[in-house]
């Protein structure tokens, strides 16, 4: 079942927290809502679940307008950061909760509880209480509980944020497997972590300041961001203020040869270059500057180089002999790795 946001606006006491969101999640698609806190992504999810009422606009599930339906009539599975497992019920009772409210028969309930626990690898813990489980196990139970009612839509609100880094990547793989096993279920996945979004989502909707900034496949967002926010939030690109010239742009007194598309010569623009496409040393599109900060990240070194008052980040293969702070260095990048945005490019 698909989800459609039709100019959904949500405000609390006149304070707009979601500004006319238009977004469609196709049936069976995994859509990530990616953005910093306060970007409106959780509000969008809560509007689908029915916990906030839009002041205007409609929410459609499978073509049906559910804007005025209470949460318990929407038939949506939901998993939240705090798991919200009922502490007074055993694991199997938690998973059976949704089935009992639907008055499913005893055999059917037992069978579906077993199925959901099997799917999440928690069958051995059926008779435990939530407090006896680790965070990762509790999250699996929460997912099993949401899946037991066989929802067409699964909402996940920062489901991995409370887990440590190692568990997180494991659970990410689990979620991807779940989606392969339940290909008809649409998933709306709210996160502030771009790795989760890039790994799991078919498409990502980047949100900031209550608005949708850009929506597209991970590759699209990464390769051709439409505005500065997307460029810097997804993949942490350098955004450099430049002036468009003929067949290139001017930055810090240097002429850089990049595709200017149909930008008018003399206009101000923003050049997005990802840190990992920047190389150290002589080359085309060369910038010179002074090393201000250097971080060793195992396989790579990250350099913060000050070029004419602008900080430029570069990720280079681990250096045997890294430059010292204050050393002058040259940086270069290939023309096709840079994206030129018109200055002040807005959201979609």
């Amino acid at each position: 079942m698909g989800i459609r946001f039709d100019s959904v606006t949500v405000a609390y006491d006149g304070n707009v927290v979601l500004d006319s969101l238009d977004l469609t999640v196709e049936p069976g698609e995994v859509m990530a809502l990616l953005g910093p806190s306060g970007s409106g992504k959780t509000t969008a999810l809560r509007a689908v679940a029915g916990f906030v009422r839009p002041v205007s606009g409609r929410v459609l599930l499978g073509g049906r307008d559910v804007t005025d339906l209470p949460p318990y009539q929407r038939g949506i599975g939901m998993v939240v950061q705090s798991y919200a497992l009922f502490p007074h019920m055993r694991v199997d009772e938690n998973v059976a909760f949704g089935l009992k409210t639907r008055r499913a028969g005893k055999t059917e309930t037992r069978q579906r509880v077993a199925e959901a626990l099997e799917l999440t690898g928690m069958a051995a813990y059926a008779r435990r209480h939530p407090r006896e489980l680790s965070g990762g196990q509790q999250q699996r139970v929460a997912i099993a509980r949401a899946l037991a009612i066989r929802p067409d839509v699964l909402l996940l609100d920062e489901p991995l944020s409370a887990l440590d880094a190692r568990l997180r990547s494991g659970m990410l793989a689990e979620l991807a497997r779940l989606h392969r096993e339940l290909p008809d279920m649409s998933m709306l996945y709210v996160t502030h972590d771009q790795v989760e979004a890039l790994t799991l989502a078919d498409r990502i909707a980047v949100m900031d300041a209550a608005r949708l900034q850009q929506c597209g496949t991970p590759r699209e967002l990464y390769r051709s961001p439409k505005n500065e926010f997307t460029a810097s939030f997804v993949g942490g690109a350098n955004v450099l203020p430049v002036t468009v010239g003929c067949g290139g742009v001017g930055f810090a007194g240097t002429e850089l040869k990049v595709d200017t598309g149909n930008a008018v010569a003399g206009a101000r623009a923003t050049l997005c270059v990802r840190p990992h496409v920047i190389g150290l040393g002589q080359g085309p599109n060369q910038l010179t500057g002074v090393v201000r900060e250097i971080q060793w990240r195992g396989a790579t070194h990250r350099l913060y180089v000050e070029v004419d008052g602008h900080s430029v980040m570069a990720d280079v293969r681990e250096l045997k002999d890294p430059p010292a702070l204050g050393d002058p260095v040259s940086l270069h990048f290939a023309a096709e790795d840079a994206v030129l945005l018109p200055a002040g490019a807005g959201h979609e």
């Binding site: 949460p71 318990y72 929407r74 919200a84 909760f97 407090r131 929460a142 909402l155």
Partner: protein
């Protein structure tokens, strides 16, 4: 407070005992001592016997104990129901109205209980609401007095309750009534039992409003203790007081057992 040195720890204990023993423990010990005595003219009570207790556990006193237990149980159950209901309803209100409701529920505590007793007496002395002269006027006054505490402790617990639980239940298809019965009330159970214990203890000891209202056939224990000491029977009064104390503590202990079983985290 974290006290590290051994000397300082002893000092803290000493201060605690100096403050606690005379203020809290000694008066109770004196009552306990007096309850076994026939005379108390020296430093310690004399003529130890159990005659006071024989008097305190039969006839009039036994009747009063039953009366007190019934009054306290009924009043605290009523208060718990009303208070919880109001707290649940209040939680759904806007902040401004919720404050107003909180203030209204605190009134019976803010007003001296003598005044509450008097107003109940005046209000229910004429038909069609004629309760004066029946046991119900005592139970009603107790309920009014303890509802404030039930409301306060339950609404505090509701504010602390993570809304994620009820939202999870709602997303699983549970209607509000089912969410209340299966999720919210069970999660509130520890505070409900705590509130019940508090209400019970307060009602067991209530005297000032009761004095103005009790009919001859419904005399709670505190009234009996007051009457006994008033006519000079201090030692009998003490024995009845110890019985009152023991009965209250026994019930509170039972309630706290339920509480431990009901707390999950």
């Amino acid at each position: 407070m974290l006290v590290h040195s051994r000397g300082a720890r002893w000092a803290v204990w000493a201060v605690f005992l100096v403050l606690f023993v005379p203020l809290f423990a000694l008066p109770l010990l004196v009552v306990l001592g007096a309850s076994f005595a026939t005379h108390w003219s020296g430093v310690l009570p004399s003529g130890p016997n159990t005659a006071n207790y024989r008097a305190a556990t039969r006839g009039e006193a036994l009747q009063a104990l039953t009366t007190s237990l019934l009054t306290a149980t009924t009043a605290s159950l009523l208060a718990l129901t009303v208070g919880t209901w109001a707290a649940l309803a209040g939680a759904a209100l806007k902040k401004r109205y919720r404050r107003l409701m909180d203030a209204l529920f605190v009134l019976p505590v803010a007003v001296p209980s003598v005044v509450v007793g008097l107003s109940v007496l005046v209000a229910f002395s004429k038909p069609p609401m004629l309760l004066n002269g029946t046991r119900w006027i005592v139970i009603l006054a107790h309920t009014v007095l303890v509802t404030a505490f039930a409301h306060q402790s339950v609404s505090a617990a509701i504010t602390r309750l993570d809304p994620a639980y009820e939202q999870a239940a709602a997303s699983l298809g549970a209607r509000p009534a089912r969410v209340l019965l299966r999720v919210r009330l069970p999660l509130l159970l520890p505070s409900l039992t705590a509130a019940a214990g508090l209400c019970f203890a307060l009602s067991m000891g209530e005297l000032s409003a009761t004095m103005m209202l009790y009919p001859p056939d419904w005399t709670p224990l505190p009234v009996l203790i007051y009457a006994a000491t008033d006519r000079g029977a201090l030692f009998t009064g003490s024995a009845v007081a110890v019985v009152l104390m023991a009965a209250t503590l026994l019930v509170l202990f039972a309630v706290s057992r339920v509480r431990t079983r009901a707390s999950y985290r």
